[in-house]
């Protein structure tokens, strides 16, 4: 007996969004468009309309768009745009700068708040994957001591560790996505899943930021090579995600309280992961 996965992503939507954001990012990095041009293009493509409401069943397309934007490092913040509808804020940040995200807008409503967290986790997962992918290709191409970096066990293990964190982050995020898609953004168990995803994402950013730059050497630390785009995105989105949720310690304390209330960490975890449950 075969078991079907919960989320059936539409490859056509994924591909269309990927292509669109790759094109936009390419034009932006070539200096051919302004941020306002990007916003207009995104609106013309209908992506700004993909904002998922409070109901279930709207998140898959939004997730594909958010991930595509993050993978391409296109400097238009689709998580913010779709969660808050704030057009100006979505293009306000300087993509070549890292700043503490404390001044970034925080949504007022609970559902927009959850939507923004989910969007941030989706962005982080996609950007982690992109940084890892760049590092794999670099390690395959770059030769030192007469062989490709990829042939050194130390490099292999560093990137394996990075991949493990990417996998953990994207999987817990997909779990939260499945909850939002099926039970709605107001699902009572979604906040705990988002707290968990925010913690896993935070750790993944630390590891991947470290490992991908180490593998790249000095070229990764330049503005002419693409890695920095993903790195700066990751740092900004992680900070904003954690600030929006009361800090990563706040996320951890809430999950810890759930474990204490249940009298068992295992029981709290299984309850939070049970579809339709009201923990």
């Amino acid at each position: 007996m075969s078991i079907a996965p919960v989320l059936a992503t539409d490859p056509l939507v994924e591909e269309a969004a990927s292509r669109a954001f790759s094109d936009l990012a390419e034009k932006w990095f070539a200096g051919k468009v302004t941020r306002e041009n990007l916003l207009t293009a995104v609106e013309q493509l209908g992506f700004a309309e993909a904002a998922p409401g409070d109901d279930s069943g709207a998140w898959l397309a939004a997730a594909a768009i958010i991930r595509a934007q993050a993978r391409a490092a296109a400097p238009i913040d689709m998580a913010l745009l779709l969660a808050t509808g704030d057009r100006a804020a979505a293009i306000a940040h300087d993509p070549s700068e890292y700043f503490c995200a404390a001044t970034s807008p925080m949504p007022a409503s609970a559902s927009a708040h959850a939507a923004l967290s989910l969007g941030r986790c989706l962005q982080i997962g996609a950007a982690l994957g992109a940084a890892l992918e760049l590092s794999i290709r670099y390690a395959q191409d770059r030769k030192q001591f007469g062989r490709a970096l990829a042939q050194f066990q130390a490099i292999q293990h560093s990137l394996a560790l990075a991949a493990e964190e990417v996998a953990a982050c994207t999987t817990i995020t997909d779990l939260a996505l499945a909850c939002a898609e099926r039970e709605g953004i107001g699902s009572p168990r979604l906040p705990a899943l988002l707290d968990a995803a925010a913690l896993v994402a935070g750790h993944a950013v630390n590891v991947v930021y470290d490992m991908t730059h180490q593998v790249h050497g000095a070229i990764g630390f330049t503005q002419e090579y693409a890695l920095h785009r993903h790195s700066l995105d990751l740092l900004r989105w992680r900070d904003h995600l954690h600030l929006a949720r009361g800090g990563d310690i706040g996320c951890a304390e809430r999950l810890g309280d759930a474990a204490l209330a249940a009298g068992s960490a295992w029981r709290a975890v299984t309850a939070n992961m049970t579809p339709g449950a009201t923990p």
Binding site: I3, A160, T171, A259, P275
Partner: protein
């Protein structure tokens, strides 16, 4: 991405089964039938294995004609994770239920399935894994135990080590060399079902660091193995061994080895938890949710007939690091706990002493990272 962890969820029937397992565990603990103890590889209790066999919780996914229960991998996962979360004594049946049975289902003869699967599913016979040797650890393809063809069967000579509970179990599935490897080092290997009670098979316990007799050195002194105990084809051993790995590496035993310590610390802290304890429990819960979702994905992929070997190795490495991290975290929090229960102290000692074995058994972290790296296209 180069790996794939689709989201699956437990169906309502599986959640109903979870409630049943929890009630059973509560009743067993209340009756004092066992104490929470070591992990899946050390807490050995044949009577417990028979009781859960009688409940239909062994051989759950196997066909009914072999006394299996034709349930899904997800139902099986519910039972295994609940028993591990309760630190129940699962060591006797663990290997047979997890991998020897599935191996026989996939590669064994009809006669082998009929002979071995029913008593495995009843919890009456127990299996060991005969892979490592004194000179073959991570480099498994270098095994030297030799099976020589004789009339009516094979004679086995050589030795295996780290064979868990070979001194108490009934059978081991032994990887041996039947022919020369030649240029292909993975060729010329085969697996045999070996009777551990045979006079030419001598299992000698090797006392471990915890002072326990769990793993063994097993010597085969021209032990006769009948033809009908060869599993699959001569030369097919490597393919068969690697097909076991996804079952072996992705399960909850790879991230729940220290859950007993976490739960014991939580029980001590529950009346007056400090912010540090709350934070540690939360960080632990977050990672546990991620690992559990990943493990569920692999169980479902196995159910669907896929071979998620990269994903399984990735889970084991991540899970082992997680379960070892919890020991350091919940030891450091000792001074935050208002009291230290016997359960906390014994869990702390047990997990601390056993933890080096976690990142060795079933594939070292170095081997696992190599497999992940190969999956990433790095080798």
């Amino acid at each position: 991405m180069r790996f794939h962890f689709p989201i699956f969820e437990f169906p309502p029937e599986a959640e109903a089964l979870r409630a049943e397992v929890r009630a059973f565990v509560t009743e067993e603990l209340a009756a004092g039938r066992w104490k929470k103890g070591g992990d899946f590889a050390s807490n050995y209790d044949p009577a417990f294995s028979q009781r859960i066999g009688a409940r239909g919780w062994l051989g759950m996914t196997w066909p009914k004609r072999y006394c299996g229960h034709e349930r899904t991998m997800l139902d099986r996962l519910v039972v295994t994770e609940e028993l591990l979360a309760a630190s129940a004594p699962v060591a006797a049946h663990w290997i047979g239920d997890r991998q020897s049975g599935p191996l026989l289902l996939r590669y064994g003869s009809e006669a082998q399935r009929t002979e071995f699967l029913p008593p495995l599913a009843r919890g009456e016979i127990f299996f060991s894994i005969g892979m490592s040797e004194p000179d073959s650890g991570s480099d498994l393809a270098s095994v030297r135990t030799r099976a020589t063809k004789v009339d009516g069967g094979w004679t086995l000579s050589g030795r295996k080590v780290w064979t868990t509970f070979a001194h108490r179990n009934h059978y081991a599935i032994v990887l041996a060399r039947t022919g020369d490897a030649g240029a292909q080092r993975h060729a010329g290997l085969a697996q045999f079902i070996v009777d551990l009670k045979s006079p030419q098979v001598n299992a000698r316990p090797i006392v471990n660091m915890a002072g326990q007799k769990e793993f063994n050195e097993v010597v085969f002194d021209d032990a006769f193995v009948p033809d009908d105990r060869l599993v699959g084809e001569p030369g097919g051993g490597w393919t068969q061994v690697t097909s076991e790995l996804a079952f072996e590496r992705s399960g909850p035993e790879r991230y729940l080895s220290s859950i007993r310590l976490v739960e014991a610390a939580l029980a001590c802290a529950r009346e007056k938890p400090t912010p540090r304890v709350r934070e540690a429990l939360g960080r632990m819960s977050a990672k546990l949710m991620a690992l559990r979702t990943m493990s569920l994905a692999v169980a479902a992929q196995l159910q669907n007939g896929e071979a998620p070997n990269l994903e399984a190795s990735l889970i084991k490495d991540l899970g082992n690091a997680f379960e070892r991290e919890q020991i350091a975290v919940f030891r450091a929090l000792a001074s935050d706990l208002p009291k230290h229960s016997d359960d906390y102290l014994s869990a702390l000692a047990q997990t601390t002493v056993y933890s080096p074995s976690w990142t060795l058994r079933g594939g070292t972290r170095e081997v696992l990272r190599g497999i992940v790296a190969r999956g990433l296209g790095l080798r």
